[in-house]
Symmetry: C2
Subunit: 560 residues, 2 copies
C-alpha cells in the first residue's frame, strides 16, 4: 500500500481530529471577542485580540530556512510544521507563523503550500483555496489603485502622469501568462488612454510586501501613501498620496491585515498570514503574525521563503530590525536528495544511493551554515527524511555535519508527525538557550552598491557585481530622490547561491549581474533584480485543474 | 440638524444593537453546525443548514419591484428591507432575500447597496466591501477559466479554438474602463497567443447568473460544464466540458454557493446572496437564498433588480419556474419624485411640488401595475416617502392609485424604520391572502422571435421589433444548435419601458431594436441586447474613493 496523499491524510484528520477554532484560540488565552471566526476552523485575530496579545512577553523565535533546493522543493514548510508539532509533543508551548499560499499555482501544479504528509496545517483545502480572502483583498486593492490611476489619466490627467512610465501594475492570483504583456485602454475616447499593462501574480504585488511589514492600520496607510506609482512626462515621481486614495486602499485591506489562526494536524496553533514572493519581495509571513506567535507561545516557529541565501538573508536583514526581536535559533533544512543534486546527481536518479554526490553536494549546506553564522545566532541542521534516503546516506550526512561542528538531527515528520521529530525539537530548544549576538550584514545608510556588494560576497560568494546600463541609471534616480537609504531585496534564482540556476554546490568568485533596480517605497526596500524573474507564472501543459472534482456534499478530490 | 448619513446610522446601530449572528440564526431554528460564521455578524448557511431548512414548509413569497426610476434610484432595496422590518414589527415571522452588492461601484459612486436610512442591512461596511468573498470567488473562477482557455491555445490548441471567437471574458469587481478593450498575449512565443480581451465587471459574468440559478453543487457543476466558451476555426461551439475543467471551476465556487445570513438594523434575518446584472442577466438574488427565506420564514421578502419591466419580468418568467413557487404578492415601489420625472419634471426641480407632472407621470406606474397583473398575482403599490414630497402630492398619488383599483400605502421607512411601514406591512399581508393564479408570459418552446415579441408588446408596449444583421445571424446560430428553447433575458435601459432612456412615462407603439443575441447555455437563458449595454462601468471624475478613510481602530469614514 502506498503512502496516502496529502489531501487523503488531511481529510481523514479534518473529520476526526480537527478542533473548533475557539478551542485553539482558547489554548492561547484568546476569548470570543479576540477572534473573528471564518467557519468553524479558521479565524482572524481581531484588533482586540492583537492588542491583548501585544501586552504579553515575547517567547523565543525559531527561524526555519534551507539549503538550495531541487526544483521539486525539499519540504521546508513541512519541517517547520513538524518541528512545531514535535515541540508541542515534548511539552513546549509553541505557535507557528507561516506564509499563506497563493491560489494561483493551485490550478497549475499538483502540490499545495500547507506542508505535507503528517505535518500539515488544516483545513488544507480552504487554506489553499480562498482561505479568509486576504489574497483577494490584495488583488482588489491593487487593481482598484490601477483603475484610479487610469481614471486620472482619462479625466484630464491633472498630475501630468506619463502613461509610458506608470510603474504600478495590475495583479491576479492566477497563473496567467497571457496577461504578462497587454495593451489596455484601447477603443477610443470613452475607453481611457491606451498604454501597456503587465499583470503580475498577486503575491508579487507591493501591497503584499507592505501588508507583511505593517505594524497596524496607521502604518499600513502611511506605507500605502508612499507607494511610487508613476513618473510625470518630466520624470517627477508620483505617489499614492498625490492621488489622495491611501484611505480608500487601506479600507480595502482592513481585514486582510488581521492575522489568520488555524491549526496543524496535531492541533498546534498556526498563524498563517501574508505570503510575499521570496525573490522580488522578502518572502516571509507578516510581521504581525510572527509577533503574535512570539507573544502567544513560549516558542514561535517561522519560515523564510526559498533558501537561506534568499529568505534567510532577507528575514535577518529586512524583517528582523522591524520585528524588534532577533531569532533565537536558525534551523537549516537539508535533504539528502537536494545535497546529492547539488553534488551533481541527476534529478531523475536521486532515488539511487550516491555517497560521492552527497559528499560533494554537502558544500552547499556548509556554505549556508557559514552564512547564517555571520549573524551570530545559533544554527542547527534538520535533515528532512525522504523514503528513498539510505541509512548510509543519512549516516554520512550526520558525520559531515558533525565535521563542521553544527548540531544535526534527522526528522521523519512527513511520515510520522511529531513521533518523528522529538529529537529535532529537543535539539532546537537547546539551541535557543545558547548565546546569541545578532549582527546585521549591512547598514541601510551605506551606499546601495556597497550593500549589494556585501550580500553578493558574504552570502552568495561572488567576487564581482556587474550593473546593466539600466541599473546604473536607476541607481542615479535612487540617489537623486534620496531613496537609497533602505535595505536591499535581491531577486535571484533559488536554485543556486549565484544568479545562475545551473551553478550548483558552493560556487565562488563569480560575477553577479544586476539587471534592474526598483525602489519599493511603500514596502521600504530596494529590489535588485538579477537574472530574469517572472512575476506572472504560466500554467503547464496538463494543469492540475484537469484532475479536480467536487461531489454534491462538497468533498474535493484531486486538489493535491 | 440634517438627517444622518447611512454609515452614521449603521455605525451607531452596529455598536448598540446588532446581535451576534448565532442569535439571528437561532431565531430561524438553525444550530451551530447549520451556519459557518464569518466574524460575529455574518455567516454562511452550511450544507447542513440548507438540508435542514429544505425539509420545512414554504412560507409566502413577496416580490418587491418598481416603476422606472430617476437616475438617482428610488429606494427599492430600502423598501424591501423596511417592509420586512415592518412585517416583523406587526408580528409576522419574515426573512429577507436580497442581492449582495458589487464592490466595483463602491469606489466610484457615493451610495451603497444595502438600503438606506433606518432600513439597512448590517454590518453595511462589510457587506459593501468584501462580505464573505462570493464576488472574489466568482472573479477568481471566471479568470481561472479564461487562463485555462489561453493556456489551451498556448499549449498546442488541440481543440482548434479560434482566438478571434473566444466568447468567455475575464472580469474584475472594479469599475475600470481601461480594461474594456485590450490586446493580451503579446510579447512573443513564451507569452501566449495575441488576442482581444474585453474585461467585464464580475456581476456581469455568466458564473454569477449560474450561481444564482443553481440548486446545489451538482447543478452548479452541470451548468458550468455547459458554458459556451468559444468557437473553433470552423465555427463549432466549444464548451467548458470540452476543456474538462468544470470540476476545478466548481471547486472555486463551493463556498460562494452557500447563502449568507446577516440582519437588518431591526434584527430581521436577511439572506444576502448573489447579485447578477439586471439587464444582461436576471437581476435577482440566488434561488437558494429565496428558497431558504421561504423555508425559514412565514413570509419571504425578495427584490428584483431595476424596474418591473426588467427584474420583475425576469423574476416571473425566468426565476419563478426554477423556484418551484410563485410570488404570493407583488409590491411595486413608486416615488413621487420618479413619477414627476416620468411626467416631464426636470431632475434638478424634483424638490418642487408639481401635481401636473405627477398626474402625467402616473401613467408609468399604471403601466407597471397592468404589466404585473398579467401574471395573475395580487399587486399592491408602496410609495417610498421622500422628505421633499408634499402632502398634496402624496394625497394625489394615493387618489390616482385608488382610481385604478390598486391597493396603496405610503411608507416612511427611510426616516422611521418599521414605525413608518406598518400600514404597508398589513396591506401586503392582506394581499398575500388573495387568490393568485400565476400565468407565465411565454413558453420556452416558442420560437425566440415570438418570445421577444411577446415581452416587447405585452410588457414594454412596442408594436415592432427590429433585428440587426448581427442579431439575425445569431438567431440562425441559435436554431442550428438547438439553443433556442430557453427563456429570454432582455437587456434594456432601466429608465424607460422602451429601449430609449429618454422615452419616459408610458411609451406605446415604438420599435424595439435588437442588436445582439447571446446564448448563455450555463445560465440557461438567451440574452437579447437592445441599445448599448456597458458591462464594464467607469469611475467618475471625482471618485468616492477620494473621500474614504479609516482610523487605526478600523473605523471607516466616507464610505457612504
Amino acid at each position: 500500500m502506498s503512502f496516502p496523499s496529502d489531501i487523503e491524510i488531511a481529510q481523514i484528520n479534518e473529520h476526526d481530529n480537527m478542533k473548533n477554532i475557539e478551542r485553539i484560540s482558547g489554548l492561547l488565552g484568546l476569548d470570543t471577542e479576540d477572534i473573528e471566526p471564518y467557519g468553524h476552523y479558521k479565524a482572524k485575530i481581531s484588533s482586540n485580540g492583537i492588542r491583548k496579545a501585544m501586552k504579553q512577553e515575547n517567547g523565543k523565535l525559531i527561524l526555519v530556512t534551507s539549503i538550495n533546493p531541487t526544483p521539486a522543493g525539499e519540504g521546508k514548510s513541512t519541517v517547520a510544521i513538524g518541528l512545531a508539532d514535535s515541540m508541542q509533543a515534548i511539552g513546549e508551548k509553541t505557535v507557528l507563523a507561516l506564509r499563506e499560499p497563493s491560489l494561483g499555482p493551485v490550478m497549475g501544479m499538483k502540490g499545495g503550500a500547507t506542508g505535507g504528509g503528517y505535518a500539515q496545517v488544516v483545513p488544507m483545502e480552504d487554506i489553499n483555496l480562498h482561505f479568509t480572502g486576504d489574497m483577494h483583498a490584495l488583488t482588489s486593492a491593487t487593481n482598484t489603485l490601477a483603475a484610479l490611476i487610469d481614471n486620472h489619466l482619462h479625466q484630464g490627467n491633472k498630475l501630468n502622469i506619463d502613461p509610458r512610465r506608470i510603474v504600478w501594475k495590475r495583479v491576479l492570483d492566477i497563473n496567467d501568462r497571457a496577461l504578462r504583456n497587454s495593451v489596455i485602454g484601447i477603443g477610443g475616447p470613452t475607453s481611457s488612454i491606451p498604454r501597456e499593462e503587465h499583470f503580475e501574480i498577486t503575491v508579487a504585488s507591493e501591497l503584499m510586501a507592505i501588508l507583511c511589514l505593517s505594524q497596524d492600520l496607521d502604518d499600513l496607510k502611511e506605507r500605502i501613501s508612499k507607494i511610487l506609482i508613476a513618473y510625470t512626462y518630466d520624470k517627477k515621481p508620483i505617489f499614492v498620496r498625490d492621488l489622495g486614495v491611501e484611505g480608500a486602499i487601506t479600507v480595502l485591506l482592513k481585514d486582510a491585515l488581521k492575522p489568520n489562526l488555524v491549526q496543524t494536524l496535531e492541533n498546534t496553533p498556526a498563524i498563517v498570514h501574508g505570503g510575499p514572493f521570496a525573490n522580488i519581495a522578502h518572502g516571509c509571513n507578516s510581521i504581525l503574525a510572527t509577533k503574535l506567535a512570539m507573544k502567544l507561545g513560549d516558542y514561535a516557529v517561522t519560515e523564510a521563503g526559498f533558501g537561506a541565501d534568499l529568505g534567510g538573508e532577507k528575514f535577518l536583514d529586512i524583517v528582523t530590525p522591524k520585528l524588534g526581536h532577533t531569532p533565537d535559533a536558525i534551523v537549516i533544512v537539508a535533504t539528502v536528495r537536494a545535497l546529492k543534486y547539488n553534488g551533481g546527481q541527476k534529478l531523475a536518479e536521486l532515488k539511487e544511493e550516491d555517497l560521492n554526490a552527497l559528499t560533494v553536494g554537502f558544500k552547499n549546506l556548509k556554505r549556508h551554515v557559514q552564512n547564517m553564522r555571520y549573524y551570530h545566532i545559533p544554527v542547527v541542521v534538520a535533515i528532512n527524511k525522504f523514503e528513498t534516503d539510505t541509512d548510509n546516506e543519512l549516516k554520512l550526512l550526520r558525520t559531515l555535519c558533525e565535521g563542521i561542528g553544527v548540531d544535526v538531527e534527522i526528522a521523519d515528520i512527513h511520515h510520522k508527525g511529531s513521533d518523528g521529530g522529538k529529537d529535532l525539537a529537543r535539539m532546537v530548544v537547546r539551541a535557543t538557550d545558547k548565546e546569541s549576538n545578532y549582527t546585521r550584514l549591512y547598514d541601510d545608510a551605506q551606499p546601495t552598491v556597497e550593500k549589494i556588494a556585501t550580500v553578493a560576497s558574504e552570502i552568495y560568494g561572488a567576487n564581482n557585481v556587474e550593473y546593466s546600463k539600466k541599473a546604473e541609471n536607476q541607481l542615479k534616480v535612487l540617489k537623486e530622490n534620496v531613496w537609497d537609504e533602505m535595505p536591499i531585496c535581491i531577486a535571484k534564482t533559488q536554485y543556486s547561491l549565484s544568479d545562475d540556476p545551473k551553478l550548483l554546490g558552493s560556487p565562488r568568485d563569480f560575477t553577479l549581474h544586476v539587471k534592474e533596480i526598483v525602489p519599493k517605497l511603500g514596502a521600504g526596500f530596494i529590489v535588485v533584480l538579477t537574472g530574469s524573474i517572472l512575476t506572472m507564472p504560466g500554467l503547464p501543459k496538463k494543469p492540475a485543474a484537469l484532475n479536480m472534482n467536487i461531489d454534491n456534499d462538497g468533498t474535493i478530490s484531486g486538489l493535491f
